[in-house]
Amino acid sequence: MQYKGRGFTVVCAVVATLAGFLMLLTFLSHSAESENEEELPKKFFIAPPPFTPGIFPCSQCHQGMPANRKPRKLEQMHQDIVLKHMPNGWCFDCHNPDDRDKLRLANGRLIKFEESYYLCGQCHGTVFRDWKVGLHGKRTGMWNGEKKYLLCVNCHWPHEPTFKPIQPLPPPVRPSDIK
């Protein structure tokens, strides 16, 4: 009787711990999810990231390749990328060394390339705030319905993000030039 009772208590304790752990897990994942949902307006659609054709997924080459975390000049691949963004920046400030198909926030959270605005928003908080309400960046679509947003990287090449000068369209005809 006594033995059976103790066994029962042990089982109960294990079940309770497991249940508690599960609850904690669901709570954590749920809170993370709702955080994401809250931050963006409901009716929107974001353009896909402007990958160079064939470059994604990164794992097609990087799979099994050991991550060399040492800042160096790239010689075999990606030589065209000159980082003119953060002083003394390096690939793994944003790219995730262990799974290259993801980006990594400063707090260690892994995000998809489609959500890269979280990464940019880490430093450019005021711009991120304006982008979310629809002030920063281009909007197309419906003013009273579904809007199409662009990712930061659709306009700002992340390795050198300043906007490049473009050629203006022709000026209006001067009255003196009208025949």
Partner: protein, 308 residues
Amino acid sequence: MKREKKNRRELSLGRRTFLKGAALGLAATALPFNKADASFWEAFFQKRFHEMNDAEKKQVIERLEREAEQKYKKAIKIGNEKAIPGVLFGYGLDLSRCIGCRRCVYACVEENNQSKDPQIHWITVLRFRKGEKWVDLEGSEKYYNPPMVPEKDYFYMPVQCQQCENPPCVRACPTQATWKEPDGIVVVDYNWCIGCRYCMAACPYGARHFNWSEPGRKPEEINPNTHYLGNRPRFRGVVEKCTFCIQRTRNGRYPACVEACPVGARKFGNLLDPASEMRYLIEHKRVFRLKEELNTNPKFYYFFAYGR
């Protein structure tokens, strides 16, 4: 005696009938009976746009569509969407982002069927040197043409119709051919405009433009999705202006210039909706309106997103 009087009356009557007949005859020669189809007389007796009922509007629009099709040899849809209740359109332009590339100017021309020769642009982009007094617009340059924009030490300000709540052009019009719609867009009825250009003189923003000759545009360049009060084909001798792309915005779409801007400097929304981006920018950014001191109360807000 009596007989004589009668004779005189006959004589004078004869003169009057002669004059009447002559006048009628003259009128008949003046009126072009050779093109006296129903269309001509319908156009001649067309009422003012807001005096027409829906059936009459439909009839007028059908006739205009028919005429436009004959002229341009392609089907042109002339819409008549009414203002959406509870909507007052407002426009925002971020001067800290505009790079003066004039993409908006030409997107507007494509969308709104302006004449290409002679050239009509509804948007004028002004260039100013940084650090100089500029807000009176006197030192502005609109013919700038560098190889690349933005240029160092310059900034740019596109100007178009400011869609004033208190529009001086509307008051100047002697025929009431221009008016403010319930959603705040100032429109022109091109069939009622007599081309006196008083509104152009009254507008402090230079936003109204005149068709000095028959609008020059190739049929294949005509945008067939039009609105009666907006981008439908115009005639020689009428005034035209920006309508916030009434044919798009009344169907929920953004104006063409908003979608063309490569830097996203142009914002558009409903001023009566507290959740709209227009309300956010007015409440959170440094905002000014052009020539505010004239009490025109524009709904076109220039703002600076950089800095606060």
